[in-house]
Assembly symmetry: C2
Homo-oligomer: 403 residues x 2
C-alpha cells in the first residue's frame, strides 16, 4: 500500500487532486505514458529499459503481481518501493544476507535492561551509526524505539502525546494540507477518545493539538516545518523520506519525535521495520507501552535483517568494499541516480501528454553528498486541469488516465 492507500487517500484525492506515489509507480507511469502518447515506435533506450523491466518481473519473488508491459494500467492508489531491488541484487546484496537458525530469537525479549526491551541491540547500533553517517538526524541523547513500520510508530506517538483518558474531548490531530493520505484514516479508524483528526493545520484554531509534520512531504515532496507554534502544542516529525536519494540533506534535525522506516531508506518495505528517535524518556516509555499492547513488540527476525541491511549500507560508505565499482556499493548515490532518471522520464512524458503538471524542480546543497543536488521526491502530486474532484484514484485505473 506504500504510503498512499485506502479510503483516506480517495477522500483526499477527491478534495485536493490526484495524488501519485511517484517513487513506486514511476516506471510504469512513464512507460504507460510513452506507450500511449509516443506510440509503438519507442526509441532504443526505451526498448532497453523495457527489457530490464521485463527481466526484473520474470525473476520477481512472491509479489503475485503481473509483469509490467507497455500496456500496463497504472495503479495510482498505492506504490511499492521495489525500485532499489537491483542494488540489492548487486555486489552488496550478498553482504546483507541473513541466516536465522531454528533456535534463534525465540524469546520475547531482546534486552531486558533497555526501555525498549524488544529492540535488538544490533539494530539500535546500526540506526545510530547510519544517522551519524548521513547527518540527517541527531541520534545522540535520543531513545531509539523500533516499530512494525513507521505508521505503527505514528500511532504510538499519538497515544503517548495525547492527554490520558478523562480529558473532556479528544485532542486534535492536524497536518498542513496536502497531507499524507493515510493520516486521517489511521487517526480515526478506531474512533479513539484520546485523539481525533482535525484536518489542515493551516486552518486550525486553538492551542491544544498534535501536528503531524511529514518532511519531505508525502504527497508533494516539499520540505516542511511545523506550521503551528503554540507552546502547549506538540509535533511528530515523520521523516520517512529525509534521505539523500530524495532530497538534499541540509540540516541535522533534532526534533522531539522523529520517525524513519527502512521501506523508504533502503527499499525493504516487506520487512516492516521503522524506528523512532525520541528525546523525552516519559514519552518514549508511553510509546513503548503502545507497542507492547498493540503487538507485544516487533519481529526480531526483521530487526536482525534490518540491522544487517543498515550495516551493509554504512559499510558501503565507510569500508570501501572490494569488487563494487561506481555507485554499486553506495546505496544513496545509486538510489539518487535512479530517482533522477525516473523524474527525468516522468517530466518528459508528462510534458508530452499535456494532461498533468508536475511541481518545479528544487535544488539545494546536500551536506551528505557535499554538492548541490536536485530533490527527487519519493512521492509527487499531479493535477488535472479541471474538476479534480472527479478524477480520484478509483477512476484513474479503469479509465487508463483518459481525461
Amino acid at each position: 500500500m506504500g504510503r498512499d492507500h485506502g479510503d483516506g487517500l480517495v477522500a483526499i484525492a477527491g478534495r485536493i487532486g490526484v495524488v501519485t506515489s511517484v517513487a513506486l509507480n514511476l516506471t510504469v507511469f512513464a512507460f504507460y505514458l510513452r506507450g500511449r502518447f509516443f506510440g509503438a515506435g519507442a526509441g532504443a533506450g526505451d526498448k532497453e529499459a523495457g527489457k530490464k523491466v521485463k527481466k526484473a518481473a520474470a525473476i520477481a519473488p512472491s509479489y503475485g503481481k503481473p509483469p509490467v508491459s507497455a500496456d500496463s494500467i497504472i495503479n495510482l492508489d498505492h506504490g511499492d518501493p521495489t525500485m532499489f531491488e537491483a542494488f540489492w541484487r548487486g555486489p552488496m546484496g550478498e553482504r546483507a544476507t541473513v541466516v536465522i537458525p531454528g533456535w534463534q530469537t525465540m524469546s520475547y525479549f531482546s534486552d531486558v535492561g533497555n526501555l525498549c526491551w524488544f529492540l535488538e541491540p544490533g539494530l539500535e547500533r546500526e540506526v545510530r551509526r547510519l544517522h551519524r553517517l548521513v547527518g540527517n538526524a541527531a541520534a545522540e541523547g535520543y531513545h531509539v524505539l523500533v516499530g512494525t513500520g513507521s505508521m505503527q510508530l505514528v500511532q504510538a506517538a499519538l497515544y503517548a502525546l495525547a492527554p490520558p483518558g478523562g480529558a473532556a474531548a479528544p485532542i486534535s490531530i492536524v497536518s498542513p494540507a496536502p497531507f499524507y493520505s493515510s493520516y486521517p484514516a489511521v487517526t480515526d479508524f478506531l474512533k479513539s477518545g484520546l485523539y481525533r483528526w482535525a484536518g489542515d493545520a493551516n486552518a486550525f484554531e486553538g492551542d491544544e493539538y498534535i501536528e503531524l509534520v511529514c518532511s519531505p512531504s508525502n504527497p508533494d515532496g516539499g520540505i516542511r516545518e511545523a506550521v503551528l507554534k503554540s507552546k502547549s502544542g506538540k509535533a511528530i516529525h515523520d521523516l520517512a523520506y529525509y534521505w539523500p536519494q530524495y532530497t538534499p540533506i541540509t540540516h541535522m534535525l533534532a526534533h522531539d519525535i522523529m520517525l524513519f522506516t527502512v521501506s523508504k531508506c533502503t527499499g525493504h518495505a516487506g520487512t516492516r521495520i521503522g524506528w523512532a528517535l525520541v528525546k523525552d524518556r516519559e514519552v518514549a516509555q508511553k510509546m513503548n507501552k503502545y507497542l507492547e499492547l498493540n503487538t507485544i513488540g516487533v519481529s526480531k527476525d526483521s530487526q536482525l535483517r534490518a540491522a544487517k541491511i543498515l550495516e551493509t549500507v554504512a559499510d558501503g560508505y565507510e569500508r570501501q568494499p572490494a569488487g563494487a565499482t561506481g555507485d554499486a556499493s553506495l546505496l544513496f548515490h545509486y538510489a539518487q541516480r535512479q530517482m533522477m532518471q525516473r523524474w527525468r522520464a516522468l517530466r518528459a512524458a508528462v510534458t508530452a501528454s499535456g494532461i498533468f503538471s508536475l511541481p518545479d524542480e528544487v535544488a539545494g546543497f546536500c551536506t551528505f553528498a557535499k554538492d548541490t543536488v536536485t530533490a527527487n521526491p519519493g512521492s509527487g502530486r499531479t493535477w488535472k486541469g479541471v474538476d479534480c474532484r472527479e478524477l480520484t484514484m478509483v477512476y484513474v485505473a479503469p479509465c487508463r488516465l483518459t481525461p
Copy 2:
C-alpha cells in the same frame, strides 16, 4: 511479556488472585521453591538439572537476561516460551534455518490476488497443512489472515465485529473470569468508541456483545466455550494454547474466528507471527483493513521463517527424517514431555511449600496422540490462602514469595 503483562494484569491479579504464566517460569519457579524449601542439600537429579539450566543460560542469545540460578527471583509478571529452544537446537533445528538474501521480500505485497495481500503463500500453505495434521481446527473453507502475533489479530477482530461508527454506544467486550490479563488493557487503551471492556461474561446482561473465548484458558488452562448465547452476540476464539503439548485435542474446532500464534505452538515468540482462521469473507476483509491501517501488513521475513518452522514441524511427523531418534523430530511429543516434567516438578514443590495450591490434573483422549493424555496447561493460576488482593505481581518479585 508473554501473554501476561502490564497494568491490566496487576489490576486483575489484585481482584482475582495471583496469576502465574507457568509455561514460562516453571523451571525457575520449581528451582526457586526447591532451593528455598528443600535447602541446599539438593539431590543428584536437581544438581543435574541445575547444570543444564546453567549451560542453557550460558549459550543464550540476545535476551539480555541474567542466568538462572537457585537464588533467582521468580518474575510472575510475565513469561517467555524459550523452554522449547532445546528442541530447535536438536536435529530438526537445522532444517528450520532460513536464509534471506538482501534483495528478497522488499515489496509490500505477497500475493495481490489474495484477500490478505501481505500473507506469504508459503505460510498459508503450512498453516493449513499443520491444522490438517493436528486436527485441532478446520481450515478448509476458512480465510487465513496473518498478524503481528495473535494479540494484533484480537484487535483486528474487535474492529471487524464492532458495529461501524455512529452507533449510540461502544459494544461491550466480555470474557468469562478468570480471563487473560491483557484483554481489558488491549480493549481499552485507545478508549475506542467502537468497543469497550465490560468484564466477566458470566455477569453480563444484554444481547449485544463480543465474547473473547480463550481455550485452553489463560490463566487457568481450562477448556472453555462461549458462555453467552444471544443470537446477536459474537465470539472470538483465542486458541493460542490449543495444541497437543498443552491439552488433549478432543475436537476439530470450527468457530467463526479462531486465533493462533507460533509463540505458543512452536515457541517462537520473538518472531511475532499469529494467524486467524475466519469463516466470513466480509469479516476477514474488515480484519485485513485493520492490519493495513495499523501496520501496513506483517513482516515478510518472519512469515517466511514461520512457514519454514511449521513446515519442519509437519515434516517431522510426515517424513520421518533420518538421524532424529525418540521425540527429537516430533515437536508436540517433545514439548508435551517437557510440560509434563515441569508440572510434575511444580506440583512437588508447591505441595511441599504449603503456600500455594494448583488446579487438579485433567486428562482426556487426544485424537492427535491417539491416547489418553493429561493436560499440561501453558499457564496456571495459584492462590494464596488469604487476602489475595495484596499479593499482586508487583509485590511477589521483591518479597521473594514470602507470605
